[in-house]
Symmetry: D2
Subunit: 399 residues, 4 copies
């Protein structure tokens, strides 16, 4: 049975002094340690295993990933470990503890409004100078030196300073320090009330079918502050910079085989340990495919997979305030004109004496003008005008 | 087709001056108006129809009752109306608009913490003097005069005054002014994540089986501030006072045929108009039984009905903080020792090197020492120690 | 220099497992330990020093008391200690950590709405049997046995049980276990935006002038769930029960010399360590008067002290929503008709073309019909109708 | 006496159907109407008066601007009006009604976290084509056509659409539609607990001394989503595009005389009508200088004015959780090493037995390594690690 180590990382402090901490679980690859990357890459032919980083619950209400990490820890103790795997549940105890009444609000810093998953660091200005300086370096050296550079940048951010760090930066940078060496990053999230779906960079879409997830969002390779982007973007920009300088590299291959995903596991505010076991097995399918675990136990399921580009992932905003009866189910096409939802407005019930049908005043059916694939909807029936009622795939395709 | 009138009642004002209003829908009984109660009761043998009052959404997140009132309005337009029926959706627009993030928090005044459904008025000191004064009055006179007295009390509360009214009093008293003449009051609520259940005063339990609701909570006849109690308590105390003085009346009969219920329709934060249609038909079953509508269209369903006394309605508080996987379903007995829930605690996963089973440290199954009937559970998996995890019937019985 | 001990008490657990703790600081009396109350009372003539219990910050935003306890700890190390003194800052870390945006909301359990300072335990049913059983016991025995009975009750509440405790009960009972042996209890609070004022039981009003606080609220001796009441009520009811049975005791004297106060230190959401030093010296004035510390360093200040009965402590509710310019200062009489506040309503500015004075539509001056002493006002200018705009002493008197 | 018109603009809808509205007050210039801009500009030599737009309370808690608009309305009725002036209090009733307990949270959309003042529209892609197309047009035509183009863009955003608008977009675009023709825009805000300060674009800094505000932040001319930027940025970029194409224009002059400011009036959550009168007179000083009102009644005050560049406006983040005693006052230089604040941490009081000074463990003085000008601080003493404790001018200069 494989053993893991556990460390406790302090990421914040409440007003009464309580420290908020994050547990970090780490497995080592069975044989080839990739600790010393430089020498490891020298013997790359002997199958150096990847570093894998998995975290959950960066958004406070999105707790199912913690249960998935529980099940991963249970399963990985009995797996053939070919990678160093770091698992971080409760990644953001500040977000998780941001309750309001029964519910959990932690999608953003409650003081600043900043999304907790938009505060990771990436400084594009380092890319070009690095590529110029290492234009003729060996691949192994490029990999090692660039990992070091990225690491130094995070360390500098976390070093004591006069002005200090915001609450969110302190968390994000500490997690990033754990993640930045990883070849594979899985950031476990959920939607409000939601189907499972995957955020996948365009360049790594070939891997997406090894997740047992029916819906894939293809995102551009640029940086918007999220964990997945913070991990693949530096390499993407570096690869591009090398190509611009005439050295031929391909993102997703060789030393640029870096993949990072945001995995949306379903709905927030709930955990189900049985479903989590299935989710864990599904993630192991991908990890086995990538060589992070050995054997052939986990095989991708047969399923129709749909994808759409991020620009075609559309939000339907509530056209009015009201009480919403969500009608469109997730994951199957909804034809143009078919109702997404009906919105009840008792304040106007019976308003027109001319109109015999009182109902028509008080019940509004809303629909779209094209076929879509509904992915998630708002968490409450009680909505103000302009709330994000549904998010849907448009121009989606089988994949 | 029956027609209704609609009035708009202003119950509050936001800081920027916006008035918060409540729509009030009223049907009149087809033939016998009970407007003039005094004369009406004189001819009571000709079956005077009751006044019925139905409201919904006093707690902000409990929105399904609005959909039920929608369906009742649709159905009552085609029913044989033998009562004056007042229907009030959106009873508390202040609670309803108390959103926090996606969710609705409105169970209590966000400034004072007072439960919106504990602010109705009842002054027990009026009872004994009234009974003494009317010891020999006719039943009709007692009914009319006591209704008048109760009305005057509410009017006095709502009259302009130096010190003013709290936000919750202003709403509660205005609703109470609409409700106080009713012989039947239905206050539509929901639980957090919940089965349907009914709060029923002990004296009116014979009526409970005409609701198609499997779980009935038998509450004592005293006053604790809620709408149902505010309506039946004055009559209960008056009946008792008369008995004490030697005049024989029975609560629930004759002029004391006053019934008021809190109907818990299921879970909060959602509406379903199809379910609401069923709910509406179920309420009409009771109203038909009470003679408020004619015909025989609505008949109670065959079902096993369980009841328990309020003192046996127990809350199970979370024994620890953690992520809760709720296991016990609603409405069927859970044997002693069977798990209610399992609580995940990733912070202690792997803590004991002695104990081989990491799981046992991180997963806690919680159960009870007696057979119970789970009725509702907390709305989030993400719970702090001491949260109300489950509410269950104990010592329940078929009914 | 006197030394103190420090213990850490765990009072709650967050969802991610973080324990919320309370530091407890304790000084022992210099010579006469009152640990063994039974023997101590036997030699009562040799002036047994009282047990003193001081806590702060039961309500989350009311933080100044923590600074006062800081200053008390600094000063008590150099005082002549004639009492055992327990000091508990951060009494409620759950309330304190209940932030919403920049502010702190912790006046009540955010899930249930229950005021954190209304959850202490008192069971009146124990009083009469105890008095009957100890009708002829010695005073020392009565004191010791009753303290033991009260302690056992709290211990029973805190003992492991099937159903568990609510979040607020767990905190309240643990604090109460620390406080229940005390002869003097000081519970440090603040108002929203507020003058200093003191809640003082009627029977102990002679002591109130040893606090350097200008405004005293005289509260009845009954139990309403608060810390101060939880400490003096059992003794009050016991003394009454003995008197009813014919044994002559006086509340506030001999073994019934038990005093407990809620001290309102000013406004919430702020600390000032310099003011806290003055506050600490003011509390030491009272403690010196009661013999808890020796010497004569601290003497009550000359000031006009006002008092009013709790029934005359009135809330003025906002008669409309609006933006409030609070005009009435604290602590000096406001004549009838003088403005408390003016309320701005830009939504109606200019509404009447007849009325030349636009201002009169948009600016409302509010006043009262009697002279009052304003004590505190609402924390925000932005108020909804029915908010608690001001709290004032009416029928107040010099004291 | 000048008269104004008043219109009501609906900007949102609550779940129960209540419409949230904004009052819009408009004065017309006394003689020269600039309604028909095209012809007006034709006679530009006769000093066409500017259009002025003033709004307040875009952030919910920042209410003092409403009082300032009240006083402006009072004063403008007796001024010599040389501009068309639109005044909009309560600009964001959704933010204003986002209360949580006593306080107001409305700095951002409570569901998305988006800052209400970062959702205005600007599409830079329109600039270059417009400049190319109008390279040889007359100034009047450029002004009229560009105003029209900007207007069309906003109208297109507000036109009915399949996907709808978010809550914040609906408000922002409607306000922008009112503001976009203005030559002068004043957006009235406040800080948390704050001195008065002014956000001023670099190009318009000469005007800053006509505000009676001691602290000016010089912001770059680019677009970051705020109201002030949304108004001057299009013109700035247009002017630059013309210059790039060889036509000489200067931002701030001629048809590019467009100025927009964010005016920070002090602290949030309070109004003071007397201070507001002073504030209003101060704004009129600037408006008189710009020719929007006539006469010479309002003259700038003598005061030392400090400015700093936005990049030098620094946030000091709380280095630890704790209770903060804010020491540094606003508006006067704080020398390097002088304390900004002291942070109380009772949880560590007395922790070291070696260290005799308990205080040193529990009280942390924080300071900076350079002289700064404190401008604002956090609204609560009760802070978590990483909160924005102070914002200060560094590298500031007299101005």
């Amino acid at each position: 049975m494989n053993t893991f180590t556990k460390e406790i990382m302090s990421v914040g402090e409440m007003a009464c002094g309580t420290k908020l901490t994050v547990p970090v679980f780490s497995f080592k690859a069975e044989e080839n340690s990739s600790e010393d990357n430089l020498s490891a890459v020298n013997t790359a032919e002997q199958s150096i295993a990847p570093n894998v980083y998995i975290q959950a619950n960066m958004h406070g209400a999105e707790v199912q990933g913690n249960a998935v990490i529980f099940q991963l820890l249970e399963l990985l103790q009995h797996s053939e470990l070919k990678a160093n795997i770091t698992l971080v549940p409760y990644a953001n105890p500040i977000g998780n503890s941001h309750k309001s009444g029964e519910y959990t609000l932690g999608r953003f810093d409650p003081i600043t409004g900043e999304n907790w998953n938009r505060m990771y660091h990436f400084d594009q200005s380092i890319i070009k100078p690095f590529a110029e300086q290492h234009l003729t370096s060996s691949e192994e050296e490029i990999k090692a030196r660039f990992e070091q550079l990225v690491a130094e940048q995070i360390d500098a951010k976390l070093a004591p300073s006069v002005w200090g760090l915001s609450t969110g930066q302190r968390i994000a940078y500490q997690l990033q320090r754990l993640a930045h060496k990883a070849d594979i990053v899985l950031d476990l999230h959920t939607g409000p009330i939601s189907s499972k779906h995957l955020y996948c960079a365009e360049y790594s879409k070939a891997s997406a079918k090894y997740f047992n997830i029916e819906h894939t969002l293809l995102i551009p390779n640029g940086f918007d502050g999220a964990m997945d982007e913070a991990n693949f973007c530096p390499w993407w920009y570096l690869q591009e910079a090398f190509v611009d300088l005439g050295r031929d590299f391909t993102m997703g291959q060789g030393i640029f085989d870096k993949e990072a995903y945001t995995v949306e596991l379903g709905s927030q505010e709930q955990i189900d340990l049985d479903v989590a076991k299935e989710d864990a097995r599904d993630l192991l399918t991908y990890l086995q495919y990538k060589g992070a675990i050995g054997g052939s136990e986990y095989q991708p399921k047969e399923m129709t997979r749909y994808a759409c580009h991020l620009k075609d992932y559309k939000t339907y905003y509530a056209p009015m305030g009201g009480m919403v009866d969500y009608l469109a189910g997730f994951g199957k096409p909804l034809a143009a004109g078919e109702p997404l939802a009906r919105i009840l407005r008792m304040d106007v019930y019976g308003d027109s004496s001319i109109n015999k049908e009182n109902e028509s005043k008080a019940l509004h059916y809303v629909s779209l003008d094209q076929t879509v694939l509904p992915i998630l909807h708002f968490a409450s029936a009680n909505v103000t005008q302009g709330s994000e009622l549904y998010k849907v795939f448009t121009n989606y395709f089988e994949f």
